[in-house]
Point group: C2
Chain length 211, copies 2
């Protein structure tokens, strides 16, 4: 190949622009210009703009989900062999920690988590369809694990609380910048470890509260 990384350059540029401006507000010309490649390269290598979006998502979502799945299954096995129920906080951690830790791996993956946060925010969008195709199995497994850890909660209540928690997470993934509301004396750039624990404090309490 003359330019061995044309596909990668397109993926990087697309990831950045989709995350920053959204799918519809991003043009292929904007992407190819930022990537320094020819306009037609997108359709040649990916087939269409929509297929490019899917490629952008899949590139990072697949390995991320494998990590999350691995940690979850390990936790479930440990709990079972110990004859105990998994702790709600630990179950949530298997999902949240690998996600938010992407921030540590540099700004490339920061774009990705912003993109996912955006995707979760467009219920009927193209991105949501793509996203759910790759998330459903894991989400169902997490739901099962949470049911184990919260045996006194009805299916309905658990669903809604998981819904609330997902909302919190997607919001945190999107908004890593100061916006109008933030008072000056607030440390918006919380270290990742502290952010994870603060998030788990909040959501675990919300999941476990009696009703």
């Amino acid at each position: 190949m003359s330019h061995p990384d044309t596909k990668a350059k397109i993926l990087d540029a697309a990831e950045h622009l989709f995350a920053r401006d959204g799918y519809h507000a991003t043009s292929l010309r904007g992407i190819t210009t930022a990537a320094g490649v020819n306009l037609a390269a997108v359709n040649y290598h990916f087939g269409s703009k929509e297929a490019l979006l899917e490629a952008v998502i899949v590139r990072r979502l697949t390995p991320l989900n494998e990590v999350r799945r691995g940690q979850l299954e390990t936790l479930l096995q440990k709990a079972e062999s110990a004859g105990e129920l998994p702790a709600c906080r630990d179950v949530l951690r298997t999902f949240v920690e690998p996600t938010l830790r992407l921030r540590q791996q540099g700004s490339e993956t920061e774009d990705f988590i912003a993109l996912i946060g955006r995707t979760l925010a467009e219920p009927r969008g193209i991105a949501m369809t793509i996203f759910m195709r790759h998330m459903s199995p894991l989400l169902q497994r997490i739901f099962y694990a949470l049911q184990l850890s919260l045996p006194n909660l009805s299916t309905n209540d658990l669903f809604w609380r998981m819904h609330f928690a997902m909302g919190s997470l997607s919001h945190v993934m999107r908004c890593h910048e100061r916006h109008a509301m933030v008072p000056d004396n607030v440390t918006i750039d919380l270290p990742v470890d502290e952010l994870i624990e603060a998030f788990l404090d909040f959501t675990t309490a919300g999941m476990e509260v009696p009703r």
Copy 2:
């Protein structure tokens, strides 16, 4: 006026389509066709597509914020004259209850809360700028009230927990439909009153948990 409600028809159609498809994926031709008016009517009555978006948001956000503000100030006055601190749950309620109750007032306002949910999900979007211009004062007041109700929480922690709660709320506002994850036996159409209490259960517990 020959068609006394051209502006209203445009606002309704725009609200619906902006909420369903997002700002960029919605065209003026789509809006004017749905409204049954001429294409040029938008620029005549509102000036531009962006100004139309602002008009759509302001129409419902202004009265909503007046209600929220009124309930909050009432609560703060009561607490002060009783010599007590306001309860966190009550503070949250002044913000959440008027919001989610919009669902009861018919499908018009349902479009609006979906639109607001979407807006909160696009940190750098045009809608966010418009939205924040009209929300900042109230948000700062709510932040102050929450500080009163949680005197042991640091400003940092309070900010992040409020952030998490806002994320949950915006997610609930957006997603009032079944999506892939939902098991068949879950009642997704929870009555508004129960949804409000379930939401307050979750977020109050998250706000109040010691750290």
